[in-house]
Symmetry: C2
Subunit: 496 residues, 2 copies
């Protein structure tokens, strides 16, 4: 019997327990460093990776827990914890089965996903599963089963509306912040759109990061329901709602491996939407050499997969392909992207036209899909509600309902990146731009990021600014500029 101690160590979803190497339990159970062990407290239990401690960092009879372990086990300081060897992880047999070339059935995938969400898989196990799913494309039956499993192990929302609209963007295109505009348009037309968004994973800002500069986004489910009942729509952070929790865990491993597979992508996107209770979904799919989807063939195959799997769950889905050649809007980073959004909603004269056009295209498609406009009339309806100010009014009401509208912060340090010669802009590397914005501090520093001054095809004079880097700290600005000057071809310039 050991006493729980909170060490305040954040290991993300990895569950870790720290115990003294010479504690009686380690000795008698034969636990070694990096063993997987079962911890029980009250009627809860977790499996954790053991890190053994020598010296006096923790006491003899203490089981010190990482934050993830503390939360999952639901203990208080000093609570009694018992430890033992866990049962063998039977579902690993299914993972091995796929490694050896077999297709997994619904039961196998459900068991794996459940074990992952219950914390029974270490990073080693999840990585093997992710890799095993990447060596051969998932069969359609596996995509369906994985999606269902990911829905089943989390919360599932239902809404008091016949049509629940939703939107997703296949990422890779910086600054593509159509969501707040689309939600405002669609809900202003009377549709229900309870939109949850994510924070940045690898990008300089997620929609939730951007939206947070305008209004609170960490709403609990009850508050979110109140906002949606009142205004028809919302833009909140999905992390607080715990839809498809397996997805967040699996994505962390995929990111570490830089491994993106279509099957996992389909299950990831759709499980969140199905769990969120969506009935009609429009998917924004930018296609371009530095976007996530790089060519038309991939876009077509992926679209077909998304529509087919979504259909099996009764989720009507329409994919809107678009150019992924250059960023949308001018800002990159939470506050700078928010400025673009505000300009479009406010119909400012300098509003970025590409962001407005893309928002209208996606809104139009969703409106038609949901039956709120006849075929071919969706875009016009969307443009009208934007132009007559209803979308802007709706957006303000949504922000107020979410806890109060606010002004995005402004950066304290700025420096332009200048054209070294007179030239024409032939290419813009989205990935390098995103890296530049992140080095400047985005998304942790809300005002950090960059502002684009040119687009594809523009001509620039020598010394003309291509973009301005924004930072909250001088050190971060220097760090970003250092990268910008070292990286060739963030902008591909051609002499004219």
């Amino acid at each position: 019997m050991l006493n729980a101690r909170r060490l305040g160590i954040d290991t993300q979803s990895e569950v870790v327990v720290f115990m003294r190497r010479d504690c009686p339990v380690c000795r008698s159970e034969g636990f070694a460093a990096h063993s997987r062990i079962l911890l029980r407290a009250g009627n809860r239990h977790i499996i954790a990776t053991l890190f053994q401690v020598t010296g006096d960092l923790i006491g003899d009879c203490e089981a010190a827990l990482s934050e993830s372990a503390w939360e999952r086990l639901g203990v208080e300081e000093g609570d009694a914890i018992t430890v033992e060897h866990p049962d063998p992880l039977d579902s690993l047999g299914y993972v091995r089965s796929r490694i050896y070339g077999n297709t997994l059935n619904e039961n196998a995938l459900h068991t794996i996903v459940r074990d992952i969400v219950e914390g029974k898989y270490s990073d080693i196990h999840i990585s093997a599963f992710v890799t095993a799913c990447a060596t051969r494309p998932l069969e359609r039956s596996e995509e369906l089963a994985l999606t269902r499993a990911m829905v089943d192990v989390g919360e599932r929302l239902s809404w008091n509306a016949p049509v629940v609209a939703d939107k997703h963007s296949i990422g890779g295109l910086p600054g593509n912040r159509t969501t707040p505009i689309l939600v405002s348009i669609v809900s202003a037309l009377g549709l229900t759109i309870p939109k949850t968004s994510s924070r940045a994973i690898t990008s300089p800002a997620g929609t939730a990061d951007m939206m947070e500069t305008l209004a609170p986004v960490e709403l609990d489910l009850k508050t979110m329901r109140r906002v949606v009942e009142q205004e028809g729509g919302c833009v909140v952070w999905g992390g607080a709602i715990k839809l498809s929790p397996a997805d967040d865990i699996i994505i962390r491993i995929e990111r570490a491996l830089d491994l993106d597979t279509e099957g996992q992508l389909i299950a990831s996107v759709l499980s969140k939407k199905i769990a969120a209770g969506a009935t009609h979904l429009v998917i924004d799919m930018p296609v371009g050499p530095t976007a996530k989807v790089r060519d038309a063939d991939t876009a077509e195959r992926l679209s077909a997969g998304l529509v087919a799997v979504a259909g099996a769950f009764g989720l009507k889905t329409f994919v809107v392909p678009g150019s992924g050649l250059q960023p949308i809007g001018r800002g990159m980073g939470p506050a700078l992207e928010a400025q673009d959004v505000l300009k479009v909603l406010k119909r400012a004269p300098d509003a970025p036209a590409d962001l407005r056009d893309r928002s209208i295209a996606l809104s139009g498609a969703l409106i038609e899909l949901a039956g709120a406009a006849p075929a071919g009339r969706g875009e016009a309806a969307a443009a009208q509600v934007l132009d007559d100010g209803r979308a802007w009014a709706k957006f303000q009401r949504i922000c107020e309902a979410q806890g109060g509208m606010r002004e995005p912060p402004v950066s304290q340090h700025r420096q332009p990146l200048l054209a070294e010669r007179r030239a024409k802009v032939l290419g813009i590397d989205n990935r390098k731009l995103a890296k530049l914005a992140k080095l400047a501090g985005a998304p942790e520093s809300k005002a950090a990021g960059l502002e684009l001054h040119v687009g594809l095809g523009d001509s620039v004079e020598k010394g003309q600014p291509l973009c301005t880097v924004h930072a909250e700290f001088a050190g971060e600005l220097a760090y970003a500029m250092n990268y910008a000057h070292g990286a060739s071809d963030i902008f591909v310039l051609h002499d004219i």
Copy 2:
């Protein structure tokens, strides 16, 4: 700039750094929990996984290190450490390439293995590599390249002898402790056999654990050389010598996944032997339904692979298949296995005949392979040197040279497992026996394990002991007996 602090946390080969979430470096660099970060101190650098700490466990300007990080970075308490984002891990591209179906060339495998040994791979990355190598069997060219890479990244020994004999056992058969006997026989005949052995990974005792109950085994390379120059042979723990360090890291991940592939096995076994400077190698390969190699086809294919790959490195190899149906000897666990070894060497009347026979068979094959006896005369030569006491005398001298011979410890707690009825023993489950011995405390408790009283085909009366469980602590004995009474068919009994 942060100050090094040793936290005394053993994370095995995983390299971890603990930093405060609110430390200025985390903020300015945008490090998040579970980030991989580059640490520099003096002219050394490591890549570590970041665990972020809230509260006052560590100070504001401290980088607290796991034991593995502390050792690799070679710092003292308070030393200055700088942290930064690591370069992208380019060799992950090769891992992804194999995931996507390509064969890896020598450069790719060398780069991956070097990065693994340099600590650049997290467990997530190593797991993906291991899995990617398991989804399609390694090509012969990949087996060769992986073996060479694993040799190249570690120490490589050379010996002042034209013939350097060695022996390896493909595991899975408890109690198969032929090594000390074989080393004594072979070195008594004048051959050089600098034998390094491993500690238990998943078994109740490794040869090094067993040998440690008879003599010191943690010798540095200099002492090992002295023993070998003096006696021709030794039996020491290989972990202190750091041959094929990649192997130890990869094996830990394979074990967590319970994933054993032939290609990895070949590279694992041979890289250690080639690095150890062996020229002639005999491999003990027990074959049976609960051994590691389960059938004759697998044995044949694996043997061919081992001989072919070894041959490419000039290492003459001979595989001796044998029955893996039941354990060899009677003891299981370090001290109990040592007793079996001593009885064979001392020619005790109750010496286990199977252990003696297997030792002679392997020694004979090795003697012939090394040209120390004509074809067909190896076993007779081995038997003679065992029967006339030269092997026993040699073993005692080896133990003295390693630091002094000692008596194995004796267990304080014992309990027999009894036959529930009159029956014939038709099967013995090696895996379950091994688990029973481990639950009793082996190999951490040197005297723990079990003693078999019956073999296949034996008839037993009701109440007759099938085996005796030995433990050092009453709690462990109870734990083991609890498992024994719950597990069906450790012994398959058939009514007579």
